[in-house]
């Protein structure tokens, strides 16, 4: 497979950002600058690195369509390229998010977020009244998927992320471990409060890509997972994102340089700006993706 970075539209493009956060209670503000043109293409696994407080999460909220850029008037570019919903080929649709925010097309923005963006954030955000299976299937249901598709996709993801727990095989007289069987996967119907930290995080990761989004944001994946587990989960995620038709991109916010080097083909570094309460993107490095083995060169 040839490099998708050449001669193709990016999945996400942003430049000229001057996003300002204000805390009125404290009369403080913080600005995030993106002077370069950030372009991310299919299959990119982007690492967003920087010290705490430099604006990584703020940038995530803008890129993830959670907040409107405060400098819409002089924002250079903010585009999202998403697969056309009804098309016979690999055609993509360009969505001008600057215009969408300017014209307050909130329904479009919500639709973009619902259909094309996934989040696996740092703090626990699973819905406690739903089971593991229901949590994972929630993005699909929000997008109108049928029960069969939800069940199938959920089962696949739970298997990929090794979210299985056997039922009591002795009580059922079944001596064979059937990890892939719904009948045997007690975890599927478990409530969230019965999960371990690692299981919790993996469920969140599985949910973030359940609806096959074009863009996935992962915030500090190692916070609840040990390195080994995090490595395994991220590998699954990366592979699932890359090795599908109309591959998406993955953003990972992390402090872990090694993890970033291992998984990311694009590294965006941010740093505090001097003499003002602000952060900025200082460096964007890109390396090619080994399409055969799916790893970075």
């Amino acid at each position: 497979m040839a490099s998708v970075a050449e001669g193709l539209n990016p999945v996400l493009r942003l430049s000229g950002l001057r996003h300002r956060l204000s805390d009125r209670a404290r009369n403080e503000h913080y600005t995030v600058y993106v002077d370069q043109c950030l372009e991310f293409y299919s299959r990119d696994f982007i690492g967003l690195l920087g010290p705490s407080g430099c604006g990584k999460t703020t940038l995530l909220t803008v890129l993830g369509l959670l907040r409107s850029p405060t400098n819409l008037d002089d924002l250079s570019e903010f585009e999202l390229f998403v697969p056309e919903e009804v098309s016979r080929d690999d055609s993509w649709q360009r969505i001008d998010m600057r215009e969408a925010w300017q014209k307050r097309k909130y329904r479009l923005i919500e639709k973009m977020r619902r259909r094309h963006i996934g989040f696996a954030l740092q703090s626990g955000e699973l819905i406690s009244s739903l089971t593991v299976q229901e949590n994972i299937g929630m993005p699909l249901k929000l997008n109108g998927a049928g029960e069969t598709e939800v069940a199938s996709r959920t089962k696949e993801l739970m298997s990929q992320f090794k979210l299985t727990r056997l039922r009591d095989s002795e009580s059922e007289g079944n001596s064979t471990q059937e990890q892939d069987s719904d009948v045997g996967n007690a975890l599927a119907d478990s409530r969230i409060n019965r999960l371990s930290g690692g299981e919790y995080q993996r469920v969140a990761l599985a949910r973030s890509i359940a609806h096959r989004p074009s863009v996935v944001f992962v915030d500090e994946p190692t916070s609840a997972l040990n390195r080994e587990l995090a490595h395994g989960a991220l590998s699954v995620m990366r592979d699932l994102q890359r090795n599908r038709e109309r591959a998406g991109i993955t953003f990972m916010i992390t402090h872990d340089e090694d993890l970033a080097q291992e998984f990311c083909n694009v590294v965006v570094r941010m740093a505090p700006r001097r003499n003002e309460p602000a952060g900025e993107v200082v460096e964007v490095t890109r390396c090619e993706i080994d399409t055969e083995v799916g790893s970075n060169e």
Binding site: T61, G64, L66, R67, R107, E110, K111, R113, R114, R115, I117, F119, L121, S123, G124, E125, L126, I127, S128, S129, L130, E134, M138, P139, K141, L142, N143, G144, G146, E147, R191
Partner: protein, 703 residues
């Protein structure tokens, strides 16, 4: 799956899977609504208790009204009009009461008592089948025809009778010097408790027909249902619209102008007769009478149409006040056509004075064979008849006049007596009426022509001829049918019979005035329900009747019901507002605690409407659960409060309280619970849907 279905499913799961957090909210809302439900039940129970006594007692539905203030007397037509106009009327019973004296007929073993027993005075009141007063004691039917009576306990005790017994009731009436007494046998068909009638009160209820018949009896009228004839003093009076006046012709002996003016001033038209059968009284007067007498007819100017306008003045007064010399006035009624034993006859009424009576001189002009009655004979027995001697009716054993109205009045054939009187006068023996020399049929049919005399006649023949010759047909009467002579009184009664003013009483064999219909001035009306009473009272009051009823009590109960309803409404409103505020504060707190969940849902792309729907629907489910809880507990508590357990040791302390929760109230409260929960959730739902997704995640909890 539609998104709305997804939101409803999520809300329901949130309620039931996080029951430990939700149950408090359900209990709070149920606890707010339950007292209102019980309050409504207590109100309904209290009002029902107040109404029960009225609703179950006949007096609750009873309206007594009487024509005291220009209300129309209660004839059958008026009562029917009231029934149709008021509507929702169960029964109307005219009120009447009579005092009678009763004594038992049989002893305890059912044997007829030999000796008359002591009479007990009984006040009888009127009733009808379906009278609620009697129905409450199991007496559903009472017959007037069968002379049935319901007695009070006191009456039953004093008489020593029971249901099924018979008792003799003595009736007495007096009219002038006449006094009559009759006995009727009544059957006891029911007993009324003393508490209803008053201790010691010997009273009873009988069908209104019985009371009406008692009214008629007391008035001296005939009571056909009991086979009791009218009293003799109840005989009707004969009235006349015409008179015949006979005066001597010429010489100032006729009616003068002044006489005519006088008569006209008495409302009489004066007509001089120059022709007509009245001139010779249908052949009764001799030919000479026509030469010497002038006949006038006086007619009363009629002002009653239809009906009879009688001449109020007596014949004596007429005669005394006219200057015509030796004038004679006779009451007159034009001949009446009837059937006697099926044979058409024309009845001519002739009642003439005797020589001793005023104007007896007219008899000198009477053909000896002229048939007529004296005044006294007419008064003594109007139902007499004189036929021609040759009339075949003389051979009839019984003579019945058939009137147009179907009455059959027996007549006494006085022909033979009359003939005998003639015999006395002539001194000759009477012979049978038929004579080979006389064509009776011709004589009977021929209304014109003079008397026929046979040249060759023996005394018997002569008498027979005389007898035969007095045939009325020779007098110039109507040739259409045979003529018979009757007292003019009879014709007057037949005329009044035709007008419906009198009737023939076969028992007493006399004509009596038709008794006027018994009208009532007071009646008891029972409506279908107590709630129909005010409408009936209003209608009757507008129709100018005086009214007595429990409508004021019913109105009081209705007012109390309304007041209590308002009270409950005010309390419910206050509690409802409190409930909404409580739900609001609970849900605001709940929403705050669920910020994180709301945030992640918004981050995942759920719309503001979706978040709003989930919060609102969650509250709706809580409200629904609260409503179910409230209704279940409400009905259970109501049942418990209603239980009469005063006798039990464990629950003897519990009072028995009437609580009636009707389904409409329960539904209203359920709706209130839903509304309370939903309204309380609106603001929290709006707040939740307006949360910034990322702030919600970072600030919120994921409960």
């Amino acid at each position: 799956m539609s998104r709305v279905g997804l939101y409803m499913g999520m809300a329901s799961k949130d309620v039931f899977r996080l029951w430990s957090a939700t149950q408090l909210q359900v209990i709070i809302i149920a606890g707010i609504c339950l007292p209102i439900l019980l309050l409504l039940g207590l109100k309904n129970g209290h009002v029902a208790d107040l109404r029960e006594e009225l609703a179950t007692s006949p007096t609750g539905r009873q309206v007594i009204f009487w024509a005291a203030r220009d209300g129309a007397l209660l004839s059958d037509g008026v009562i029917e009009n009231i029934r149709e106009s008021v509507g929702n009327v169960d029964v109307i019973i005219p009120e009447s009461q009579k005092l009678v004296f009763g004594s038992p007929v049989n002893d305890d073993s059912g044997e007829e008592l030999a000796q008359p027993q002591e009479e007990v005075p009984i006040t009888l009141y009127s009733t009808l089948p379906g009278d609620p007063l009697l129905m409450q004691f199991g007496v559903n039917e009472i017959s007037g025809e069968q002379l049935e009576v319901v007695l009070s306990e006191a009456a039953v005790k004093k008489l020593g009778v029971e249901v099924g017994s018979h008792l003799d009731v003595r009736l007495t009436r007096k009219l002038g010097a006449d006094r009559e007494e009759h006995f009727l046998e009544f059957k006891v068909v029911g007993v009324l408790p003393s508490r209803e009638q008053g201790e010691g009160q010997t009273t009873g209820y009988a069908h209104i027909e019985t009371l009406e018949n008692l009214d008629r009896y007391t008035a001296g009228d005939a009571v056909a249902a009991w086979g009791i004839p009218a009293m003799s003093g109840r005989a009707a009076s004969d009235v006349y619209e015409s008179m015949l006046v006979f005066c001597f012709r010429g010489g100032g002996t006729e009616l003068s102008t002044d006489d005519i003016s006088f008569l006209e001033s008495r409302g009489l038209e004066v007509q001089r007769l120059d022709e007509g059968p009245e001139l010779d009284l249908f052949g009764t007067l001799s030919k000479g009478a026509l030469d010497e007498l002038v006949t006038y007819r006086l007619n009363r100017v009629s002002w009653e149409d239809p009906g009879i306008t009688p001449i109020r003045d007596s014949t004596q007064l007429i005669v005394r006040n006219t200057q015509a010399e030796d004038d004679l006035a006779l009451r007159w009624v034009d001949p009446v056509k009837v059937k006697i034993n099926g044979v058409p006859h024309a009845l001519v009424g002739l009642s003439l004075p005797t020589k001793r009576e005023t104007g007896g001189w007219l008899n000198t002009y009477m053909e000896k064979t002229g048939r007529r009655f004296t005044f006294q004979q007419s008064v003594d027995n109007p139902c007499q008849i004189l036929f021609p001697a040759s009339s075949p009716m003389n051979g009839e054993a019984e003579l019945l006049v058939e009137t147009a109205g179907g009455d059959k009045i027996p007549l006494l054939n006085s022909t033979s007596a009359f003939v005998a009187s003639l015999q006395d006068e002539t001194g000759e023996t009477a012979v049978p009426s038929t004579s080979p020399d006389v064509d009776d049929s011709v004589i009977a049919e021929d209304g014109g022509g003079g008397s026929q005399e046979s040249a060759a006649s023996t005394s018997a023949d002569k008498l027979s001829q005389v007898v035969a010759g007095d045939d009325l047909a020779a007098a110039g009467a109507s040739s259409e049918m045979p003529i018979a002579i009757v007292p003019v009184t009879l014709l007057s009664f037949l005329e009044q019979l035709d007008s419906g003013v009198v009737k023939y009483d076969s028992g007493s064999r006399r004509f009596i005035d038709v008794p006027s219909a018994v009208d009532f001035t007071k009646a008891r009306l029972y409506t279908d329900t107590i709630d129909d009473v005010p409408e009936a009272v209003e209608w009757l009051a507008e129709a100018k009747y005086a009214v007595l009823s429990e409508s004021s009590r019913i109105a009081e109960i209705q007012e109390q019901d309304q007041s209590l309803q308002i009270l409950v409404l005010v309390v419910a409103l206050g509690v409802f507002v409190f409930g909404v505020i409580t739900v609001f504060s609970v849900l605001v707190d709940s929403t705050d605690r669920k910020k994180g969940t709301i945030g992640i849902l918004r981050v995942m792309g759920m719309s503001r409407f979706g978040v709003f729907s989930i919060v609102l629907f969650r509250a709706f489910v809580i409200g629904l659960l609260a409503a179910v809880l409230c209704i279940v507990f409400g009905f259970a508590l109501a049942e418990f409060l209603r239980l009469d357990v005063a006798d039990t040791a464990a629950l003897g302390w519990k009072p028995t309280i009437s609580v009636m929760i009707n389904p409409i109230d329960a539904l209203l409260i359920a709706f209130g619970a839903l509304l309370c929960a939903s309204l309380g959730a609106v603001v929290p739902a709006l707040r939740a849907s307006g949360l910034d997704p990322f702030d919600a995640i970072t600030e919120g909890q994921f409960g």
